[in-house]
Structure formats: structure tokens, C-alpha cells
């Protein structure tokens, strides 16, 4: 596979666990050697270059803090190894600690930090060497939901502030769509699709991408987004299909309607509570279901595999 990451972009490698995303990231960093293929940055072939000379900032999933060093010394590590002057190191570290808002924690040890603080320390440590590329392996994977949400926004702000080319790995599509300006969908070692999040969501290349990025339901041999379907009391739209309402579930602002087609098969539709209320839907009602005019995410359902029959 070939994946190009534009300069200064924030690209997310997105896909199910075990699909090879982290391996790809480690290959870019030089922590793993590819069987075949090359890694290039700015047109320079880095495939044979050792890790320490690649100038790549890497944040590990569990942050890999140096446990015997304080936050300040952790951040200073890359600069100390480069034998920079004491004053220079100090100034640079102070600046980074301020950037990640850890100034007050400079003299603590990693064991005295929360998960989010450790994450920020790891980020400052990786940024200290002014990397050409910043790689983040499941940056929010080890945090609880609350902190994760906060850090997503924070990371996006940080990226727009420092503007370093960033690649992050995640299996959470919501996280990828929120943080990244480009997605690379990876499944089973294959690159499925690359592009802007909104574009991929609306124009998925195949069944896998469509189903992985959002909800999907099947109508007339085509996968569609359930919020791209409309319901009518009468056959208004051409190509509308008759269906029976099986169940109506209210989920806050959205309403989920499960339908049964007369020929067999189930479809579900996502409606706003307003449009659901207008329809006065109840189980047993007859309705017409059709794709909305703006529905672009449509992928034919591949022929059923023998295993699925039954």
C-alpha cells in the first residue's frame, strides 16, 4: 500500500484493532523494519536510517514515561542527549511545559501524574526534539471517556498552534473524525480509503468503510446510512418501498424506527424527533421508505457468502 501524508496535516490511521495501524506507525518511526517498501519524508528515503536519527516524535500508547525522571527531565531528555547547553535546555523545556500546561508539575515524577497529564508530558517530550513528523499511537486509548473528550479538542488546538505533520492511530471513528483533517482507513493490512473525514463519510469507497465510519442499513440491495432514509405516509417519492413499522425507539434527539419489508428483511431509519412526531408512528403502521435526495453514501451489498445463508 502507498500512503502519502501531506505536510502539516493531521492524519488519522483508522481501522479495527489488529489491522496493522500501529505496525505502520512503528515502521514510520523505524521501531520496526518493513519486509518490503520504503519510508520517505520530504522525498528523503529513511528506510535504512536508525530510529534515533529520523527526527520523529513518537508518543506511545501507554506514554512510556521515564519513571526515574521528573517531568522536567523527561521533557528535557531529547535535548540533553543532543548535548545542548543547560540554559538552552531549560528555556526550551519551560516553553514546552507551558504549552502542555504542566509547569506546576515540573518536579513531579510520572507516577504522581494523572493519565491525561502523563499523555501531555509524553507529547511535550516528543515535541522537544522539534520532530519533522509527530506520531501518536492510540493517544487517547488509555484514558477515561471524560478526559478523552477534553484532550481531543486540546490536541486539535495544539496542532493548529505548532503545525507539525502529525499521524495518529485510533480505532475510534468518532475520535478520528473529530480530531483529524484526513483519514486513512486501514483494514487487515490494506489501505481502504484516504481523504477528508466528511468526504469519506459521504462517499465511502466500499462496504467496509461505510459500515466502519457510521451506522448502515440495507435497502434494495444497497447499504445506506439510516439517516439518509425518509419515511412517508403515502408513496410520494419514486422508488419508495412499502414497509411495516415494527418498533419506534426514542433516543433523545433522534428516533430510531425499525421497519419490516413485505418481501422479508429489516431496515432501520434514523429520524429527528421533530419529523418523527409529525408522522405519528406506531408499531403496525404502513409507511413508505426511500433514500433522501441528498443520500450519497450508497454501496451495493456484495453477493451473500455461503456462510451467511440461513
Amino acid at each position: 500500500m502507498t500512503l502519502e501524508v501531506p505536510e502539516r496535516s493531521l492524519t488519522a490511521l483508522l481501522g479495527p484493532s489488529g489491522g496493522g495501524k500501529s505496525t505502520l506507525l512503528r515502521v514510520i518511526a523505524g521501531l520496526e523494519t518493513p519486509d518490503t517498501g520504503t519510508v520517505e519524508i520530504d522525498g528523503e528515503d529513511l528506510t535504512g536510517v536508525p530510529v534515533r536519527k529520523r527526527g520523529i516524535g513518537f508518543c506511545f500508547q501507554h506514554y512510556a514515561p521515564f519513571r526515574h525522571l521528573t517531568v522536567r527531565r523527561n521533557v528535557a531528555f531529547g535535548l540533553e542527549v543532543r548535548r545542548l547547553g543547560k540554559a538552552e535546555v531549560r528555556a526550551k523545556v519551560d516553553e514546552l511545559l507551558d504549552l502542555v500546561k504542566l509547569t506546576a508539575f515540573a518536579d513531579r515524577y510520572p507516577s504522581q501524574l494523572s493519565g491525561g497529564q502523563r499523555q501531555r508530558m509524553a507529547l511535550a517530550r516528543a515535541l522537544a526534539i522539534e520532530p519533522r513528523v509527530l506520531l501518536l499511537d492510540e493517544p487517547f486509548g488509555a484514558l477515561d471517556a471524560q478526559v478523552r473528550k477534553q484532550l481531543r479538542g486540546w490536541l486539535r488546538d495544539l496542532h493548529s498552534k505548532i503545525n507539525v505533520t502529525t499521524v495518529l492511530v485510533t480505532h475510534d471513528q468518532e475520535e478520528a473524525m473529530e480530531v483529524a483533517d484526513r483519514l486513512a482507513i486501514i483494514n487487515d493490512g490494506r489501505l481502504e480509503q484516504v481523504g477528508a473525514p466528511a468526504h469519506i463519510y459521504d462517499h465511502p469507497a466500499n462496504e467496509f468503510v461505510l459500515k466502519f465510519l457510521g451506522p448502515a442499513t440495507e435497502l434494495d440491495g444497497t447499504w445506506v446510512r439510516p439517516h439518509d432514509l425518509v419515511l412517508h405516509r403515502g408513496p410520494k417519492a419514486p422508488g419508495g418501498r412499502r414497509a411495516t413499522v415494527e418498533r419506534v425507539t426514542h433516543l433523545g434527539f433522534e428516533v430510531r424506527v425499525d421497519l419490516r419489508l413485505p418481501a422479508g428483511g429489516d431496515v432501520w431509519v434514523q429520524l429527528h424527533r421533530g419529523s418523527a412526531a409529525e408522522l405519528h408512528l406506531a408499531p403496525g403502521d404502513q409507511v413508505w421508505v426511500s433514500p433522501s435526495g441528498t443520500a450519497t453514501a450508497r454501496v451495493p451489498v456484495p453477493p451473500a457468502s455461503p456462510l451467511a445463508v440461513g
Binding site: A29, G30, L31, P50, V51, R52, K53, R54, I56, G57, F58, F60, H62, A64, P65, F66, R67, H68, L69, F77, G78, V81, R82, A122, R125, A126, A128, I129
Partner: protein
């Protein structure tokens, strides 16, 4: 916080443990100290400032000074290999390291004599080049290094396995070379285990008798270490020499343990964990033994 009163099974358990230690360690070691100074400090001083006694002390320190660094370098190396590499035969290396623990030191000494004595395989070759191993200092160093070989490996290996390699990988991405990674990351991470392993190694080398007795020939004033000196003093009906030698040996051992306590102050501070049932005891799992 509720104060818990020690009930009788607890008390008797403590008394039992203390009594056991007293009978086996405190009373015998104390009596050695008493006997050494029984005839006054002057007599004790005279006994340990004889040429032979001083020579034994110096030789013991020299042997420890060579054998302990050898075992340390080898031990860290083997621990790194076992922790970081998978290769066929790793189990064999792992098992071989423990052999000196299982084997009687006397057997170790005998085996060395067989190989390095002047009728042995390597001994012949070495003797032709004017190098004497057995009945000489190199043999004593070798025997001491062998019997104390497992301690550093066994203390460092679990620490290496526990810390993993992520910190080292992180250091490499930040620009550190092999040496810098070892010095700045690996070594500080294993420091505590290493210090304890080195202490055990030192204690073992200082106190080794069986293996050294066989390889050294116990030549007075030449190949006599402190333990051999004590033993020969007993045989020569020189109890003051024997007791004083023992006191010196004990003092060196105490100094080594004291050094260990200094290198890991945080571990030792809470030797008496608070009585509240919820508080985790932070005392070291490896308490020094007077080996």
C-alpha cells in the same frame, strides 16, 4: 483509626520469630564479638595486626574487588540477554546460571582444580605460559566469582522483565544511542535490583569458604582469605585470632548492608508500616539477610 490490640496468637508468633532469630543469630554472633574482646581491645588489636591476618584481610578485599565487578557485568549481560532476546537454548542458559546455587561449593572448587590445576586441561596450557591459577589468587577469584554468579542475574532479570522495552524505545526516538539508552534509562531502572544483587554477591564472596579452601591450598600469608584464616586459627588453637577475624568479617558484611540501605533509602524508610489495615506495606520484599 481503630487501634488493634495484638492478641495472643500474634504475640506468640512474634515471640517465636524473635526467639528463633536470637537463638540462631544474635546469641552466637554476639558471643563471637564478646570472645574477641574478652581479653581486652589490645589483645584483639594484636591478633588482627599480625602479618598473616592483615594479608588475609587484604586478599579478601582484593578478591571481592575483582569477583564482584565480574559477576556484576556478567550478571547484567545475561539478564539483558534472557529478558530481551528469544533464542533456542535460552532455557539452557537460564538453567546454567543457577547451577552454582545448587552445587556444593566444594564441588565447584574441585571442578575448577580438575580443569585449571596443573594436570588439568587448561591448567597445563596456562602453566606452560607461566600462569598459575590453582593455589593462587586467580583461582580464588574464579571460585568466588562462580559461587556468587547467580545473584545479580536473579535480582536484575525480573526487574528487566517488569519494565519492558518501551522506555528504551522512547529514548531511541528521542535521539539516544545504545550507550546513552543503557546509561540513562536501563541502568537507572534496574538500579535497585542491581544494588541488592551486588550486595548479595559481595556477601557471598566475602564469606565463601568451601570452594576457596579447595582451590587456594590455604597457603599461610599467600593464599589465605579471611574465612580460611579463621579456620586455620581455630586449628592452631588461636581462639583470639579466630574471633577477631570473625568480627572483621562481620563488620565488613555490615558495612556492605549499610551501603545497600544508603542506595535505596526510599525502600527502607517504612520498615514499620502503620498498623491501619488499609495501608499498603511499602517495605522491600527483599530484606537483607546476614548471609
Amino acid at each position: 483509626m481503630k487501634k488493634r490490640r495484638a492478641n495472643w496468637p500474634r504475640l506468640s508468633l512474634r515471640a517465636g520469630a524473635l526467639g528463633y532469630l536470637a537463638l540462631l543469630i544474635v546469641v552466637p554472633v554476639g558471643s563471637v564479638f564478646y570472645r574477641a574482646f574478652q581479653h581486652g581491645a589490645a589483645a584483639a588489636w594484636d591478633a588482627i595486626t599480625t602479618t598473616d591476618a592483615l594479608h588475609a584481610l587484604v586478599l579478601t578485599l582484593v578478591v571481592a574487588g575483582i569477583a564482584v565487578p565480574l559477576d556484576t557485568v556478567f550478571g547484567v549481560g545475561v539478564a539483558l540477554i534472557l529478558a530481551r532476546h528469544r533464542f533456542p537454548g535460552a532455557w539452557l542458559l537460564d538453567a546454567l546460571v543457577d547451577i552454582p546455587l545448587a552445587l556444593s561449593p566444594v564441588v565447584v572448587g574441585l571442578a575448577l582444580v580438575l580443569v585449571y590445576g596443573h594436570t588439568g586441561w587448561f591448567g597445563n596450557w596456562l602453566a606452560a605460559r607461566g600462569i598459575t591459577v590453582i593455589f593462587s589468587v586467580p583461582g580464588i577469584v574464579m571460585a568466588s566469582a562462580v559461587v556468587a554468579l547467580p545473584y545479580v542475574v536473579r535480582e536484575v532479570l525480573p526487574v528487566l522483565q517488569e519494565i519492558g522495552t518501551e522506555q528504551e524505545q522512547a529514548a531511541r526516538t528521542l535521539g539516544a544511542g545504545r550507550v546513552a539508552v543503557f546509561r540513562r534509562i536501563t541502568l537507572p531502572s534496574i538500579q535497585r535490583g542491581l544494588a541488592y544483587g551486588m550486595t548479595l554477591t559481595t556477601a557471598r564472596v566475602l564469606g565463601e569458604f568451601g570452594a576457596v579452601a579447595i582451590v587456594s591450598g590455604a597457603i599461610l600469608g599467600r593464599t589465605q582469605t579471611l574465612t580460611l584464616f579463621i579456620s586455620s586459627s581455630i586449628e592452631n588453637l588461636d581462639p583470639v585470632g579466630a574471633y577477631t577475624g570473625s568480627v572483621i568479617l562481620a563488620l565488613i558484611a555490615l558495612a556492605v548492608l549499610g551501603l545497600l540501605a544508603l542506595t535505596s533509602p526510599r525502600e527502607r524508610r517504612s520498615r514499620w508500616p502503620s498498623r491501619s489495615p488499609g495501608s499498603p506495606s511499602a517495605s522491600a520484599p527483599l530484606s537483607p539477610s546476614t548471609a
